[in-house]
Symmetry: C2
Subunit: 313 residues, 2 copies
């Protein structure tokens, strides 16, 4: 159903007649991390595609996408934005510590604020919050192991010690309770491919029988698979990552037995955030609130819906 | 910003060119309670306005709005819908008990399900859930009393004993903690104007000094005000209702001292739900998830944004 439309987001747009009659002029600034990692590369791609489509769909709408290489640069970028007329800011903050005050300053000027993914320290600043569902991300992954592995030994990759990571892992383990699936080891690998490669090498040395791997992230899954390949071990039945990297979705689509599924944490959530922000200005539907997007199990059946071949991620 | 556009929701619509190229055909059914109460009257109004605007904005989209006078009738209406090709169902269920299974049957046919306001017994059925924020509804109201009454005696009106009511009232009381505002009495009045009239008569007889009333609902606020009027008492400084009934919003706009504010729980959330459902079919932005709309304090400053003179509510 969805993928019938070309690139990125097909605009959430006002019927042109009504909008022109209003002669509206709305500027939405989008402040996001630069494409320094795979996932943020996807964010940049979807933000730029969506900006074009929204501008086409909403007469009078101008969307400015600004990428920043780090938190300090993003804070500066927000300061620069304040010299312009900006009606709304959609911001995916590098981190809460550096960005909470800069976003608060933008808010004080009457700007509508939409925060994406990583929350600010003071939620009162935001008008809209769009985020993934981290507890569900762990739960969906855990359920996949229970339903498909049924019983066996699993090693678990953690990301960086954060609330997000804790929510994911604790719910993964809760989903396994009472099943025959056993977590025999878990380590942090910083959502990083190389770190995951090294951790998986250790796991393979320590554990003679590993039935499946919860890599919990597609970048880490790539490192895990490389370690398995080099070890020539054949006991690992499958690796479950997470996020929706296009290489992994392609494998799922193609029926790759090592990558039979993925769990979504889509960088295209920036498109959702931009869409509901534009709708705030071009509709009477209430939009202020918190929109938590589902973590979806991606299998061969629905993989096409999650595949963006033109995205870098 | 928002109210510049005519009636109801201004469509969340795809740019016409892109949609025509796709020759899409999408049918969205909207199943809602008939206008048996003020709030549901508002739901019907906004659903019908939004249906027109979405059909205008999204080429190939057909929206069927079906109202039902009670839960059993709504269950039957869903059964009838299944004889047609329906791609999505937006449903505001009369109640969870009677509607959970009928909606599950619709889901089994591959229909995209958006649930509004009152949840089903099994949340796994829904693709999208759009709801008001009941804890915040109480918190915002409580904060209003702390900020504006500062100290004094307050009587509290409860609705019907439900989770919603409990969330609202407990958070209201939590917001008062440590302040000089004291709840001297509270009673259920079933979100009903006549019941609230009678309860307020009792309160006025029992309590020689009432500084303000948390009616917690606009229908109840009307009953409360009638009881105060008949009593000729002059100690009550203001009444705070809730929901966003147009008569109350008008009073807020006009600077009525007895109704200085309101707290939103907008029937137009049906428009939000219909908009994000249509966006699921006409965009690549992920839309599956839970969208909890803010309970907003409505004051003279922002009342216009919440005023729909053509709505029955």
């Amino acid at each position: 159903m969805k993928k019938t439309i070309g690139l990125g987001l097909a605009a959430l747009a006002l019927s042109a007649g009504a909008a022109l009659a209003q002669q509206k002029s709305v500027t939405v600034a989008v402040s996001i991390p630069a494409a320094t990692h795979g996932w943020t590369g996807g964010v940049v791609y979807h933000a730029e595609e969506t900006a074009k489509l929204l501008e086409k769909g909403y007469p009078g709408l101008k969307v400015i996408v600004k990428t920043s290489p780090n938190g300090a640069a993003q804070a500066n970028a927000l300061e620069d934005l304040m010299t312009q007329k900006v009606d709304a800011l959609v911001v995916l903050p590098f981190n809460s510590d550096e960005l909470t005050n800069p976003v608060r300053e933008v808010k004080k000027r009457g700007t509508f604020i939409t925060v994406v993914d990583r929350g600010l320290k003071d939620p009162a600043i935001q008008d809209v919050y769009v985020a993934g569902n981290n507890p569900e991300f762990g739960r969906v992954a855990g359920k996949y192991f229970v339903d498909n592995l049924k019983s066996g030994n699993v090693v678990v990759f953690r990301g960086i010690p954060t609330v997000i990571d804790e929510e994911r892992v604790s719910n993964f383990e809760k989903a396994l309770e009472g099943s025959g699936v056993k977590v025999i080891d878990k380590q942090y690998a910083n959502w990083n491919r190389d770190d995951a490669f090294r951790v998986m090498q250790d796991f393979l040395q320590k554990h003679p029988k590993i039935d499946a791997v919860w890599a919990s992230d597609d970048d880490m899954a790539l490192g895990v698979m490389e370690a398995i390949r080099q070890s020539k071990r054949e006991d690992v039945k499958f690796v479950l990552g997470g996020a929706g990297m296009k290489e992994m979705i392609k494998r799922v689509m193609d029926g790759d037995k090592m990558i039979p599924a993925d769990v979504s944490y889509p960088p295209s959530m920036i498109s959702t955030a931009m869409g509901v922000t534009a709708a705030h200005f071009y509709s009477n539907a209430p939009m202020r609130g918190t929109y938590v997007l589902n973590a979806q199990l991606i299998t061969k059946e629905n993989a096409k819906e999650h595949y963006f071949p033109n995205s870098p991620f």
